[in-house]
Every structure is written in structure tokens, then in C-alpha cells.
């Protein structure tokens, strides 16, 4: 169970990205965070694995205080949380296989990993992760030779390699076309359903939210403006969805389609 209490983040330049965000999440949920660009979704996700340091508030996960964790403890927590990024964030010059293997970095001997040496089991697991996302053929190619959809599969394989208890996905399909979006989210959903992995995922498109979410949080200017279950969101109309995204988006949307709203 993940408990977030009064989480706030103010950046060095004074931007208030998160203001007193609180919510609880049971294990095995598929939480979708919706909100405009700049509403704090990415910051919230990155606070959970401390890629961004929260200014105040607390995050407790299965009894462990994430905010207080340091050094080896923090790395152990991070190794249990997989992360998938909008721009894939693969190491472009490394092979696909090495990118997947990097998912194990939190659990292997530092000195061995420095010259890219992993155990036989690590290699077997990496291939099975690649098999799960269907790109075993590409294992020895350089990551930047792959198409966008294939790169995101590598990103997911890297997360699978972590054998995570939770997966954070920061707009994982925003750079991909709609057909690929379902494929990618399908992999994440399978992890969620088959292994009971908690998923926290930010999404833009209402139909995707309705299809995958078991719970939904709406963020606006760093504050939670909507909480609902999967059922709630499936009954939501476009109009209500727009309200979460704010009047501003709606007004722009009246003239021509706004990319941020994704409607």
C-alpha cells in the first residue's frame, strides 16, 4: 500500500509543481493520473522514486518511508519500482540487451557491472523480458536503431527486468501512434493483472484512461481536482473530462483541437 500525505514540491525557480497532494493506493491498482502539461504529473511520479526530492510531505510504501530513505536503502526501493518514460530514455549507444540488463543494476555487484558483466541468469531473464515484449530479434542492435514503438518495448523490458512491485509510467504512449499505444499499455496491464504489480501511469487520452484505469486522479496546477474509480471514469462525458483539464483548454478547444487535451 502506497500512502502519500501532504506532498509538496517547489522548484528552485519558485515553481510550485505540487501542493499538498495526498492519496492512498492499494497494491495491484492501475492508477491513472490525468492533467494538462505542467500540472505536476511528472513531478508526482518522480517524487515516488525520489528522482525529484519532495519539498515536504511523506511517502510511505509498504511501511517504508521513501522520503527518509538514503543511500543503499533508497537504491533498494528504487530497484523495486520500475519506470517507463515518454521519451523511452534508453542509452542510445548501448545494445538493446545492455539496456534491458541495466534494469538489474540495483541488484548486482557494482564492480562487475562496470565492465558490463552480468550473470548467466541475468542474461536468461533479459531474453525472457525481451520475449515478453516480442523483440528478441533485436537484442544485439543498438538501441537508437529501433523505431519508437520498439524502443518503448525495450523500456518496458527494462522495467520487467527489475522484477518490480510497482511501475511508474510517465506518459508512456504520448510519443507513439494510437495502435502502438494499446500494445504498450497492454504489456503494462498484463504486468498489473498477472503479477499484481501496482501501476501509476499518466495518460492524456480519455478512451485510454477509460480502458485501463482502475482508479483515476486529476491534477491541475499541482493540486488534486478529481478522484474517481475506473467505473466513475467510464461514465464520464467529454465535457466533464474537459473540466478537469480546465476552462482554458476548453476555450482553446472550441476553436481548434488542443493537443494537451487530446480530445
Amino acid at each position: 500500500m502506497l500512502e502519500i500525505k501532504n506532498l509538496s514540491k517547489t522548484y528552485g525557480d519558485g515553481t510550485k509543481a505540487l501542493k499538498n497532494v495526498s492519496f492512498n493506493l492499494e497494491d495491484g491498482e492501475f492508477l491513472v493520473i490525468i492533467g494538462l502539461s505542467g500540472s505536476g504529473k511528472s513531478t508526482l511520479l518522480r517524487c515516488i522514486n525520489r528522482l525529484v526530492e519532495p519539498t515536504s510531505g511523506s511517502i510511505t510504501w509498504n511501511g517504508a518511508d521513501i522520503c527518509a530513505a538514503k543511500g543503499a536503502d533508497l537504491r533498494k526501493i528504487r530497484s523495486q519500482i520500475g519506470m517507463v518514460f515518454q521519451h523511452f530514455n534508453l542509452v542510445k549507444r548501448l545494445s538493446v540487451l545492455n539496456n534491458v540488463l541495466s534494469g538489474r543494476l540495483g541488484r548486482v555487484n557494482t564492480w562487475k557491472s562496470l565492465y558490463y558483466k552480468f550473470s548467466k541468469k541475468d542474461y536468461e531473464d533479459a531474453f525472457s523480458a525481451l520475449k515478453k515484449v516480442g523483440i528478441t530479434q533485436q537484442a544485439y542492435k543498438r538501441a537508437d536503431e529501433l523505431s519508437g514503438g520498439q524502443q518503448q518495448r525495450v523500456g518496458i523490458a527494462r522495467a520487467i527486468m527489475q522484477e518490480p512491485l510497482m511501475v511508474l509510467a510517465d506518459e508512456p504512449v504520448a510519443s507513439l501512434d494510437p495502435v502502438l499505444a494499446h500494445t504498450i499499455l497492454g504489456y503494462i496491464e498484463r504486468m498489473n493483472q498477472e503479477q499484481n504489480i501496482t501501476v501509476i501511469c499518466s495518460l492524456h487520452y480519455l478512451d485510454l484512461v477509460q480502458r485501463y484505469a482502475t482508479r483515476v486522479i486529476g491534477l491541475k496546477d499541482g493540486e488534486i481536482v478529481y478522484r474517481g474509480t475506473g467505473e466513475d471514469i467510464r461514465q464520464m462525458t467529454d465535457r466533464e473530462f474537459k473540466e478537469i483539464y480546465g476552462e482554458e483548454a476548453e476555450r482553446v478547444n472550441a476553436g481548434k483541437p488542443v493537443k494537451g487535451a487530446g480530445l
Binding site: 528522482l51 537504491r75 528504487r78 519506470m83 549507444r93
Partner: protein, 489 residues
């Protein structure tokens, strides 16, 4: 009516009209251009007539020295003056009128032509004269090879002015060249009171045992063995033996002053010398020296690059904005390092070499030192830009897997840094070798040292060999470095 003021102002002082109409930037630019045109014109005209004083005498002298320039300057300056006045009225921010600046550029071009002493006629006229040394530079390979030689010499003594003196009998040895003269005495050519040549005795010279068909030089040795080649009709005497190695020719005894202090019998000698190639072609000194210096040059470039890389890596981190943006101290260090790098980089390696020569003396080490200093500055900047352009995404992703900082560097930062690092380093090696070819001009060692010596000795063929080696090496290096860089990106 409102157009009158700017026109009059502009005629009084070009550019003032624009200021009056609040086109400050354009006005200032025009004032600056116009005053520099006037200033330059005055200085050039007074230089053309530098020993004259007073307005009209100077103008007159300058006109007679270079009428084209004076007419050009006068016409276009007046035209510009009027144009500026018109422009001050017609110009508006809506309508771009570049004409006045085109005119200013034309005048500057004319001034530049005169100041830089451009002389197309000279270039055309002197082309044929320049062709001779240039052709040697373009095809210098005759000087690249040489042959071992062997000298075949045979000679016979003569008594001067004393027919009664008996010289020892000549003995002929088989397989050795043999020369005899008939008669075995004679009188040297002398000068009479009017400095006219009085011809000496004519003798017949016979020889045998020489190499058939090979030209032999005729040499004269006087009584104290000073040797020289006698001439007849302006040409050096020479002889070509027939197919049996024999020859016969007649010559007049050459002019030679017998010093009054000379005592006793004067014996002179005539010698026939044949120079013959032995064996195949061998590399000549210029070729050997050039190759040795070229190797030195390449290694100078390599050493300077290696030192440059080693020293610039730590510097580059201090000069990378994304790494140094932590606190005001690091930002201050960043700006300091950047400024120092920029200053070092803006001073040419040749000037650094001059300083290094004072420091460690002539030779390749001075060149390496100069190139290293410049390389550190250049590579430091390039590397720091490579560090700045690192994508933070993968770093974030690797951190998120629970990797520690060493693993993050190894997996996310190093792979991103290698391509620019390798590319910049090879590029710098390329530049350093190219630079070390000329750094010798100021005493920094390498092939430039040799080249400048050959040019000063007017040995254009040897210089040509050096130039060829530089060109070929640089071309190969250019290709190789481009290939390596292409593979690494």
C-alpha cells in the same frame, strides 16, 4: 517643407538628418562610416604625397601619383554625401533602403584596394618569372634521388716557359687512364699593357683508358695546385672519349698569373676527370631529411594531442554549465575557466610557439608545448560542450533502476560522452599535425623548420619535396580522421 531640415542637416554633416528624424541607429552607422571614409581618404592622400605640404600641392602630387584613386574617391564621396541627404528624407522604417550602405561598401572596397596595395598588373607581368621556381616546387622529384659516383682521373704535367727542363717519362699502366700532351711544355696566356689577351701555347692532349661515351671535364692545376676549369670561347672545356676510351683535342694554355715571388721551375698540370654513376638511384638528402622531419611532425601532433586530451578532461568539467550550475562559487569557477580558455584559444599556436621557443629553446618540444597549450583550450571547450549536450533522460532512467552513482556514470554518461569525445580528439589530432607542419616556421621543430630553411636557401626543389609531403600527409590525415569520426557517431 518638413523635408528641408534633414536635407540641410545631412549636407552639413552626413547622418545628422537621420538623427534629426530619430533614426538613431542608422544615423550613427552613417556618421561612423562617413567619418572613417573621410579620415582614411585624408591619410591615404597625404601618404601618396608624403613629402609635400599644403592642401593643393598635396592633392596635386597625389593626383599625379594615382589619378584613378583620387578621381574615384572624389566622385563617390560626393555621390555618397548627396545620397545620404536624400536617404535622410526618404528612409522610413517601413521601406528598406539599402542603397546608401551599398555605396559605402563600394567606397570601402576602393579604399581597401589602395591600402592593401593590390596590383593586378604586377601579378600578371611577374607570372612568367615566378613560374621557374614554382615549377620546381610543383615537380621537385629530380632532387629526391641521387646516385653514388666514381671519379676517373688522368692527367699530365707541363713545364711553363722552359723547353729544356725534362719531365720524368710518363708510364702507361693497363686499366688506368693515361694522358699525355704534345709538347710537354708551353707558355701561359697573359695580358698585355692594354689588358688584351695574349694567347699562350697551343697543345694537343691525348688520352686513353677512359669510359667510352661519358663526358669528361678538363681541369687545370697551377703550380701551387689551385684548380679550375679552363674555358674556350666562353664554354668550359670538356671531352668525350670514343668507343675505345681514347680522345685527342687541342687547347690553348689558360691565363694564369705567375706571382713575381715564384721561384724555380713552374709545373702545371692538365687533368681529365670523368664522373660516373655507380649503382642504382638512392634517396637524396632532401628526401631523407623530409621524411625524418615529417615523422617528427606527425609525432609532434600526436604528443600535443595526447597531452591536450589528458589536461583538458578535468578542465572541461569545470567549463560545463550543467555540471557547474550548483552554487555561486562553481558558477564563478565556470566563468573564470571559460574566460581563460577563450583567451588562450584566441591566441594562435604560432604565437604560443614563439613564447615556447623563448621558454625551452628551438626544437620540436617548443612546438609540442605550443600546440598543447592551444589544444587544452580548444578541446576543453569542445568537451565541455559535449558534456553540456548529454541527454539527462538516460541518467534518470538508470538512476530509477536503483543504480549507484558509479554505475550511472558507466551506463548513462560514458556511452553518451564517447562519440563527441572521440570525434573531437581525432579532429584535434588532425588540426595539430596540420599546425605542426607550420609551427617550425618560428623554430618549433618539425617539417616547417626544414621548409623555411630550403626556401631561404632558394632550394625550391627541396622545398617542393617538403611541400609535397605536407600536402599528402594532411590529405591522408583528413580522410582518415573523417572516416574514424563517421564510424564513431
Amino acid at each position: 517643407m518638413k523635408n528641408i531640415a534633414p536635407i540641410i542637416l545631412s549636407l552639413i554633416f552626413p547622418g545628422a538628418g537621420h538623427l534629426y528624424r530619430k533614426h538613431i541607429q542608422r544615423g550613427l552607422l552613417i556618421i561612423l562610416s562617413f567619418t572613417s571614409i573621410i579620415g582614411l581618404s585624408i591619410s591615404r592622400i597625404s601618404l601618396l604625397a608624403h613629402r609635400y605640404e599644403g592642401f593643393f600641392p598635396v592633392l596635386k602630387k597625389a593626383f599625379s601619383n594615382n589619378p584613378g584613386f583620387i578621381i574615384f574617391l572624389f566622385l563617390f564621396t560626393v555621390l555618397l554625401w548627396i545620397w545620404i541627404a536624400i536617404d535622410s528624407v526618404k528612409y522610413s522604417t517601413l521601406k528598406k533602403r539599402p542603397g546608401v550602405f551599398v555605396l559605402i561598401l563600394v567606397i570601402f572596397f576602393g579604399l581597401g584596394w589602395q591600402i592593401s596595395e593590390i596590383d593586378v598588373v604586377k601579378a600578371a607581368v611577374q607570372m612568367p618569372d615566378a613560374w621557374k621556381p614554382l615549377s620546381k616546387v610543383l615537380w621537385p622529384w629530380k632532387a629526391a634521388i641521387t646516385y653514388k659516383t666514381e671519379e676517373l682521373t688522368g692527367g699530365a704535367d707541363l713545364v711553363i716557359d722552359d723547353p729544356d727542363y725534362v719531365l720524368p717519362a710518363l708510364n702507361r699502366t693497363e686499366g688506368k687512364p693515361f694522358v699525355e700532351t704534345d709538347p710537354r711544355w708551353g707558355s701561359l696566356s697573359t695580358l698585355d699593357k692594354n689588358n688584351e689577351i695574349v694567347k699562350g701555347t697551343s697543345i694537343t692532349v691525348r688520352g686513353s683508358g677512359f669510359t667510352p661515351g661519358e663526358v669528361g671535364e678538363v681541369w687545370w692545376l697551377d703550380s701551387i695546385s689551385n684548380e679550375f676549369r679552363p674555358r674556350e670561347g666562353g664554354q668550359y672545356l670538356s671531352v668525350t672519349p670514343d668507343s675505345e676510351g681514347k680522345f685527342e683535342f687541342t687547347m690553348t694554355l689558360p691565363y694564369r698569373l705567375i706571382p713575381p715571388s715564384a721561384q724555380g721551375v713552374q709545373i702545371n698540370r692538365v687533368e681529365i676527370r670523368q664522373v660516373r654513376r655507380v649503382g642504382g638511384p638512392i634517396p637524396a638528402d632532401p628526401l631523407k631529411l623530409t621524411i625524418a622531419r615529417m615523422v617528427e611532425t606527425i609525432f609532434m601532433g600526436m604528443m600535443a594531442t595526447i597531452f591536450g586530451i589528458i589536461l583538458s578532461i578535468p578542465v572541461s568539467f569545470l567549463a560545463a554549465r550543467n555540471i557547474m550550475s550548483g552554487s555561486w562559487i562553481t558558477v564563478a569557477v565556470y566563468y573564470f575557466v571559460r574566460t581563460v580558455l577563450n583567451i588562450i584559444r584566441s591566441i594562435e599556436p604560432l604565437i604560443w610557439a614563439l613564447i615556447a621557443v623563448v621558454w625551452v629553446g628551438l626544437g620540436p618540444f617548443a612546438g609540442i608545448l605550443a600546440l598543447t597549450i592551444h589544444s587544452v583550450a580548444a578541446l576543453g571547450k569542445l568537451y565541455s560542450e559535449g558534456i553540456e549536450s548529454i541527454d539527462p533522460g538516460p541518467i534518470e532512467a538508470i538512476k530509477a533502476t536503483g543504480a549507484d552513482s558509479i554505475q550511472t556514470i558507466m551506463f548513462a554518461i560514458i556511452p553518451q560522452m564517447i562519440p563527441p569525445f572521440v570525434s573531437f580528439s581525432i579532429y584535434r589530432w588532425d588540426i595539430n599535425v596540420r599546425m605542426s607542419t607550420i609551427i617550425g616556421l618560428v623554430g618549433g621543430g618539425g617539417i616547417g623548420f626544414l621548409l623555411v630553411q630550403y626556401i631561404r636557401l632558394l632550394d625550391y626543389q627541396a622545398a617542393g619535396i617538403a611541400v609535397w609531403f605536407i600536402a599528402v600527409t594532411v590529405a591522408i590525415l583528413d580522410y582518415v580522421s573523417a572516416e574514424i569520426r563517421r564510424k564513431f557517431i
